[in-house]
Amino acid sequence: MDSILSLLAAGLLQSFEPLNLAMIFLGCFAGLFIGAMPGLGSVNGVAILLPVTFLVPPTAAIIFLAALYYGAMYGGAVSSITLGIPGASTAVATVFDGRPMAQSGRADQALMAAAIASFIGGTISVILFTGFAPPLAAFALKFGPQEEFALMLLAFATFIGLGGDDIPKTIFSILIGLVMAAVGFDIISGQPRLIFFDMVEFQRGIPFLVLAIGIYGIGEMIWTLEHTKGAIQMHKVDFGWKKIKENLGRIKSYLPVSVMGSMLGFFVGTLPAAGATPASLMSYGLAKSFSKDGDSFGKGNVAGVAAPEAANNAASTGSMLPMLTLGIPGSPTTAILLGGMIIWGLRPGPLLFAESPDFVWGLIGSMYVANFVTVLLNIALIPVFIRVLAMPFSILAPIIFILCVVGVFATTDRMFDTWLMLLLGCIGYLMRKLNYPVAPAVLAIVLGPLTERAMRQSLIGSQGDPMTFLERPISLTCILIAVALVSYPLVSNMMRKRKAASA
């Protein structure tokens, strides 16, 4: 422990060197904006800014990239809340409650909660990272396909409770998402499947962002227009010290879910297969399952913003672990970090911690500092962000429309996806009107491919014997918890009905 503390102290000192500190500021600031721009996304952002890093020494360079990645995680929440367009896949769960909060004039609270929860997530995860990196890396290796499948099942189970009391509608929504996730190439045999109308464009599958931007950006926009006739102004711009203090007083209401989300997010992030998007969705599901007023989720509950934001930041730290120790990046953005490391001659792998301690601990130290920098920057910029919402919706709606179209085209570079996004937006609007929950469909399209791959790998390995999922302790535990989670709302529903009947 002593050695860890002294290494960490050295790392912190290193990140306070003027050049490194400047890199942290620059990275966080750029990241915040890249994350907040729908369609630009952290992948392109990091790739385009990569040349900056060749002007400075390797440690400063990776600190810059990590700060950029960090800032983008915070920034993703901004467009989710203010515009209702998820800036990145990791910020989709933030839309669920962040958008309704903004619509009811509480955007400042939502942004503040997102910033604070992200800070909590980042801090808890970096502490866990500092203390337990090697044992956690060893634990991650125990996760085979069976465990991955069981974990995904758990994620789905947390979402059964997501659709309020209407479980059949939730399951229907999940199934729609799973069907869309199955479009494209079969992940095991490589055969094309579900190619609708024989259109070759479907061979590439339905990208997740197309669905998310369609349903949330376009669908919500139409819905809001219909309900308000464009005559609302969502927010008044007054955000001073008084407001900040007022908002800080609300931390208590979402502190527990943030801590829970951080732990979960970090853990899920350390698994090479998963990453920040599943982590944030699972955290949202869990927060809802365990909340006393679960029904208010999806209608503007501040805990519904805090839980996924804490988790996605924690997961982004967590996913550094498989990248550094196994050389497997947990996300496309960490993959670019990995590319940077290879150029500087730093080979990720089990020996990196021992062979390049300056680099590793400098990076860890910078995460502590980057966390402080981003939370301060973010709070300072909230007045700028909510100014967007001061516009009348009749002006904001066309802007959202343009950002959705540009955002999809910029990420996939195909008009086909842009049309598909608009179509899915209309479907999302209809689902909303018919009271179908859309969040489970979004979850299913993210987790569907991961789940399918893990399940089929397990079954190939066991030669078709499904008992393989129950024979392994970690997998069995996850499955048991999943079963308990699914049956809980059913049982409590029945209890309530029985009570009502007897009363």
Binding site: P51, L55, A140, S189, L326, I343, G349
Partner: protein
């Protein structure tokens, strides 16, 4: 101060080269570097190294952006390139599934010989790896014994049905007379991780995917499938030395879509030739056991692809297409 200096010099350099650069074709927007495999694998590492070198040495006015399209054993990447006909800003980082996937999946209707031949960066090698905890396995004989003892439950990890490692696995099954279960994972990095975590029993990874685990003592190579022993693995026998008739390589090449403008093809050929000859690339080849002694591009590369396609048709016929696609 140093930064300021580099900045000013690079701006000065840019200003000097700018007029000359107008004369020839060059990228006008970011170039997509499509990787037909998952993150952490050999192709992925190479693409990311090349991307970094291009930007570090200021070799392109626009950045190269690596994008993984691992679906369907490379089918996703190949059909993406097919759909980009005539595009000057998309390149493919190819491996052997460049040959095998179109042979096995005829319905994709992909003819890789129409793709623009940019250059061959390296020939990569395969080794047979097991977890170091398997103390009972020290060489090929004890490996074969262990596979036979498992009674058909031996699990081999690979990167996808019909991928080069599944062909190599099938060749081994045929030559050594045993049967294994082949489990596909997304990318060589994930395969390596699952071997370290004992989720699978053996792999045929490329050196770059196992190098760090080998150095850390987590895994060990038993056999290499080269003609002669490669530099980092002087102590590991080749299959031929052990009397097993298998010799198999992995090509690492760059292609463009069909119908790419000749000026663009020429520009990329020059770019990658310069990269091939750079100290950084040659150092990487040496440390990761790649063979990079001959630069091939243009017609010579097309001829190489033709020969490899024929060889893979024969190989797949020999082992049977059924043995490499999932049942």
């Amino acid at each position: 101060m140093k930064i300021l200096k580099t900045l000013t010099t690079s701006i000065a350099a840019l200003a000097l080269t700018a007029p000359a650069a107008f004369a020839e074709w060059q990228p006008r927007k970011p170039v997509e570097l499509i990787i037909m495999a998952g993150t952490g694998g050999g192709a992925d590492q190479i693409a990311r190294l090349l991307q970094g070198l291009i930007q570090k040495n200021n070799m392109s006015p626009r950045p190269f952006i690596p994008i993984n399209k691992p679906g369907g054993s490379g089918a996703e990447a190949l059909s993406y390139i097919k759909g980009k006909e005539g595009d000057n800003h998309t390149l493919l980082v190819a491996l052997n599934s460049f040959y095998t996937t179109p042979i096995i999946q005829e319905e994709l209707d992909i003819d890789v010989t129409t793709f623009a031949p940019i250059g061959r960066m390296a020939m990569d090698t395969f080794l047979l790896w097991v977890n170091s905890e398997r103390e009972d396995i020290t060489d090929l004989d004890s490996y074969v014994a262990a596979v036979n003892e498992s009674g058909g439950t031996w699990k081999v990890g690979g990167t996808g049905s019909g991928q080069e490692d599944s062909i190599l696995t099938a060749m081994m099954e045929k030559e050594l007379g045993y049967n294994v279960i082949y489990i596909p994972f997304p990318g060589g990095g994930t395969v390596a991780k699952n071997l370290v975590g004992n989720q699978i029993d053996s792999t045929v990874n490329n050196p770059s995917e196992q190098m760090e685990f080998w150095r850390a003592g987590n895994t060990k190579p038993l056999v290499q499938f080269n003609g002669t022993r490669s530099a980092p693995f002087e102590d590991v026998p080749t299959a031929k030395e052990l009397g097993v008739d298998i010799e198999y390589y992995m090509q690492r090449s760059i292609s463009g879509p069909a119908g790419m403008d000749p000026e663009a093809v020429a520009w990329y050929q020059d770019l990658f030739e310069e990269l091939f000859n750079s100290q950084e690339w040659q150092d990487y080849c040496k440390s990761d056991g790649l063979t990079c002694d001959e630069w091939i591009s243009g017609d010579a590369l097309s001829a190489f692809h033709d020969a490899q396609l024929k060889r893979h048709v024969e190989l797949i016929e020999a082992v049977g297409a059924d043995s490499i696609t999932s049942k």
